[in-house]
């Protein structure tokens, strides 16, 4: 049973061309690179990216939360006269609020990125691909998954061969 067919390239430009070509016929296409190749996502037709939104929410929640906690504990829960200052000394609530805003945003950004990327995922079929370790070194890969309606082991392979890759290999499931 196949997971996908994988074409290997030595050069990001070749990769980009290949991806564009694949996209013309297939939908379930993906690409793998040792670093973030500019324009690759666009070439794959990736539009929306939720990371910034998640980060914003994280920041707001953190900031609002800590400010409320400060106000509640100092004014409502246990009002105590400290140095004759007003109970609701909002200016002094700002530093923690700022810090926790940042913290919330950072946590959101980090874990948001992981979850949206489906990580951690220690086992993945793509790792079955021969020479895939090069994907984290210097090689670039295009994969057409078997789940694609247009997918056909023979024709798709021929199509990939047509893209002048270093080689095409099958990725077992």
């Amino acid at each position: 049973m196949l997971y996908a067919l994988l074409a290997e390239f030595a050069d990001p430009r070749a990769l980009l061309d290949a991806v564009r070509r694949c996209r013309e016929r297939y939908h379930d296409v993906d690409a793998y690179a040792p670093y973030a190749v500019d324009g690759l996502a666009e070439a794959l037709g990736v539009r929306k990216n939720r990371v910034p939104l998640v980060t914003l929410i994280g920041g707001l929640v953190g900031g609002a939360g800590i400010y409320f906690l400060q106000w509640y504990s100092a004014v409502v829960d246990y009002p105590i006269n400290s140095g004759g200052r007003p109970l609701d000394s909002w200016p002094v609530f700002i530093p923690p609020t700022f810090e926790i805003t940042i913290l919330g945003a950072a946590l959101a950004a980090f874990f948001g990125m992981l979850l949206l990327n489906g990580l951690p995922k220690l086992h993945h079929p793509i790792f079955n691909a021969p020479e895939f370790e090069l994907a984290s070194r210097n090689r670039f890969f295009v994969a057409i998954r078997a789940t694609d309606p247009e997918f056909d082991a023979v024709r798709t392979r021929a199509f990939l061969e047509g893209l002048a890759p270093i080689k095409v290999s099958e990725v077992p499931l």
Binding site: A33, V46, S89, E99, A105, A106, M113, K121, F132
Partner: protein
């Protein structure tokens, strides 16, 4: 600073490719052709780490009285170390986050180890305020949680702000650092030859596949983290400076502290970065990656921050006299002519006079000189914190309370120990993690080759 500066200098006859970079850096961790210097350093730092542990144990069993702190100087070494270590942390974040936003590509060679430096420095810093407590086992009372006493932290206290600032800082630094590591960990996983390493790095890599979408989200998140870390780093030392300017002790009660402290922090941070980089590139033969350009750039940054520090000193003195406040003036005289005058003048020497040598381009490109200057500035900055904290406390409002501070053996042991522990952690880092970001470097060399039009 030219954006494309800091280009790699490949060995004659070959050209750096992603492959070479990956192998060269990954092998440092996977194959480990360890240099004798490394083992020497390992043993020495381990010894000092042990001293640190002993000092802390004795402190906890006996009390802060083992230090020289007393009335009126109730804060001394611990707080000095704290401010100093936090400061050192700042350079790392500055390089990795601030320069990232400014698209300073030369940062890619140095950001990884600079971030490690930040984390370990902030860890040391974070310890100090806990150590200096009279009852350290109750430190968590500074953290808000619904306890059975129904009592909360006192939000007006800068020490509470510290907890938040430092905690946030160390967490964000670790996340930022770890995020940058994930693709490299994947590389290590893929290049590891033994099962054990595969599993270890495999777990750490969280199953990174280098998928296009993953890279896409990764880059956004990384950039956002940079954007968050930059204001954070400013805020952290601002809060630290408020520990002092919030008080009314003459010599503390000053509005220039935040910018003054932040800049001083970067100053000492770049110094530490140089002190670490110079031997590291030698021992691990990374001269091609961390080039003299890189060193020169950090040297320049050090010079700039140093000049701002010098300016702050002048402003401080000017303000004291301009205020015509009796106590401020007395404090300033006491600082430069009182019992601690030698310290204050050494500060001027180390932080203002000697670093002027950096005006010379030749010196800026001379690793050894930079290393030495780095040490000088580190010393100077520590003394500066000591001067601000101790010399101000020693003589405040009522002469009847004036009393000198003298350090004890355990004061020094704690400082030396923290240095040892810091260095120890750093060596561990070099041994188990890639000291330079491979993925970013791959991208850089690629783009350079493109620019050079020599790609195939």
């Amino acid at each position: 600073m030219a954006t494309d500066a800091g280009t790699l200098v490949p060995p004659p006859g070959e050209r750096y490719t992603g492959a070479i970079i990956t192998d060269k850096i990954a092998d440092l961790v996977l194959v480990r052709p360890m240099h004798a210097g490394y083992y020497v350093g390992f043993i020495v730092t381990a010894a000092f780490t042990l001293l640190f542990i002993v000092a802390i144990t004795y402190l906890f069993t006996t009390g802060v009285g083992i230090w020289g702190v007393a009335q009126p100087v109730a804060w001394a070494f611990a707080l000095t170390n704290f401010v100093w270590w936090v400061g050192i942390g700042h350079a790392g974040t500055f390089i990795s986050a601030f320069l990232l936003l400014l698209r300073q590509h030369w940062r890619t060679s140095v950001n990884r180890f600079a971030e490690a430096m930040t984390i370990f420095a902030v860890a040391m810093a974070g310890l100090m305020p806990i150590l200096h407590l009279g009852r350290p086992w109750f430190f968590y009372w500074l953290i808000p949680y619904p306890d059975v006493m129904n009592v909360w932290p006192q939000w007006r206290s800068p020490l509470v702000w510290d907890i938040f600032a430092i905690a946030t800082y160390i967490i964000v630094s670790i996340l930022f650092w770890y995020m940058g590591l994930i693709p490299d960990l994947a590389s290590l996983r893929d290049h590891a030859r033994t099962r054990g390493k595969q599993v270890a790095y495999g777990l750490a890599a969280l199953g990174w596949r280098g998928e296009a979408r993953q890279w896409h989200r990764f880059e956004t998140a990384y950039l956002l983290m940079g954007g968050l870390a930059t204001p954070l780093v400013i805020s952290v030392h601002t809060v630290v400076s408020l520990d002092f300017s919030f008080g009314l002790v003459p010599g503390w009660h000053s509005t220039i502290f935040p910018p003054y402290f932040v800049d001083g922090a970067l100053y000492s941070g770049f110094a530490m970065a140089l002190v670490l980089a110079v031997p590291m590139r030698k021992v691990f033969r990374l001269e091609d990656f961390i080039t003299r350009d890189h060193l020169a750039k950090m040297g320049t940054l050090m010079l700039v921050t140093g000049l701002i520090v010098a300016y702050s000193y002048m402003v401080e003195a000017f303000n004291a006299y301009y205020s015509t406040d009796l106590y401020e003036i007395a404090m300033m005289r006491n600082r430069y002519f009182g019992p601690y005058a030698p310290i204050s003048w050494s500060v001027i020497l180390c932080n203002v006079l000697i670093p002027q040598a950096l005006w010379s381009k030749r010196l800026r490109r001379n690793p050894l000189a930079l290393f030495v200057l780095g040490l000088v500035v580190l010393l100077g900055m520590w003394l500066e914190r000591f001067m601000i904290i101790v010399a101000s406390l020693e003589r405040d409002f009522l002469p009847s309370a004036w009393h000198m501070f003298y350090p004890t053996f355990w004061d020094l042991a704690t400082l030396a120990g923290s240095l040892g522990a810091f260095a120890f952690l750093f060596l561990m880092f070099l041994r188990f993690l890639p000291a330079i970001s491979m993925s970013e470097l791959r991208k850089d060399v690629r783009q350079e080759t493109i620019r050079a039009g020599t790609h195939t």
